[in-house]
């Protein structure tokens, strides 16, 4: 195997390199919960996962049951995903993190 091929194999498999990030969440629609995200399809993705997690945190704060905005109690399961929809680990702990998880009845 030549060096170029080896580097290509390493680059493709060593680590998953995202092209961008979005914040995915579930929102109540009547009796059901539907998955949604921002930025939406067609909008440019966040290039910074630090920014994405910060927005996810603020979104979770706004969606708390005790919050006074319109989103209280209607938003749950907030996390950051990459351009392929795969969950991204939180940069501080390198572990998956879900904010405001929905408690199954």
């Amino acid at each position: 195997m030549d060096l170029k091929e080896a580097m290509k194999t390493i680059g493709a498999g060593w680590i998953q390199r995202p092209k961008g990030f979005r914040v995915r969440f579930e929102r109540r629609q009547g009796d059901e919960w539907v998955t949604d995200s921002f930025p939406s399809e067609g909008e440019p993705l966040f290039t910074s996962d630090v920014m994405a997690w910060e927005l996810a945190r603020r979104f979770a704060e706004a969606a708390r049951k005790e919050a006074t905005g319109e989103a209280n109690g209607e938003i749950s399961s907030i996390t950051v995903v990459d351009d392929k929809g795969r969950a991204v680990t939180f940069y501080g702990t390198d572990g998956l993190l879900m904010l405001n998880p929905r408690v199954q009845a």
Partner: protein
Amino acid sequence: MNAMETELQKLKEVSEMVTLYGPGIVRALIILVVGLVLAKLFLKYSKLILRRLNLKEATLSVVVNVLFILIITLFVAMAAQFLGLKAMVIGRILVAISLVLIGIVVIFRPLIPTLPFKVGHTVKTGDLLGKVEGTTLMNTRIRTFDGKTVFVPHSKVLNDYLINYHLIPNRQIRIDFPIGYPEDLLRAKAVLSEILAKDPRILKAPPARVFVINLNLDGVQLAAWSWVKNDDYWRTRCDLLEKIKLRFDHEGIGFAMPRRLVHMQGASEDCTGSGTGLAE
């Protein structure tokens, strides 16, 4: 009455002149304005095309300026014809003026000092960092990132070194920091490499690198160097610092602290010690 008649006569003459020459003057002005706009556009696109010929920057500048002068001359000639001047007279005057201007451009242009930036570039001169908002004959107006507007005399710019962050599209982020000697060096390098690899703003070429840059008295000096686009530089750098701090804390990898050996003068031997300076 005589004074009034004289004034009326003058007004009548002016009115006749405007009627006679007015349309010609307006047409000439329109031609000059159109010519100027077309010449500017030509200047812009000809630079792009001529750059592909791999000419030296100075040669390119001379060629483009000469073409610019010729185009302006052509439109001035057209405007002068609309004013009623004879073609031969126009031709002789313009040829003379053009040759003088071209001579000045060819001989003296390379000797005229030019500013090493354009409006919109981010530059650092001395300890002043900001974006160039405009230039006048005497100074350059720079807006710093905290909102100050600074007027820098051209003499200061031309007589001191200046960093222009716009001449190449990418910049290198260099993050160097020490970890303690007892720490897991290989784990630290692996974590750093992972952090750099996962950031989409960090360019694949040239590749990001993590290496031991020095063995200091305080600890093992690690370096994490990567390339990003100019616009992403500050935000990416700040994000990387945050990620490194949090991940290292989570992984239990300690940053090195400055160490000092303290000798107590006049005290007994067992008072001499070393430490991090932190109270235990």
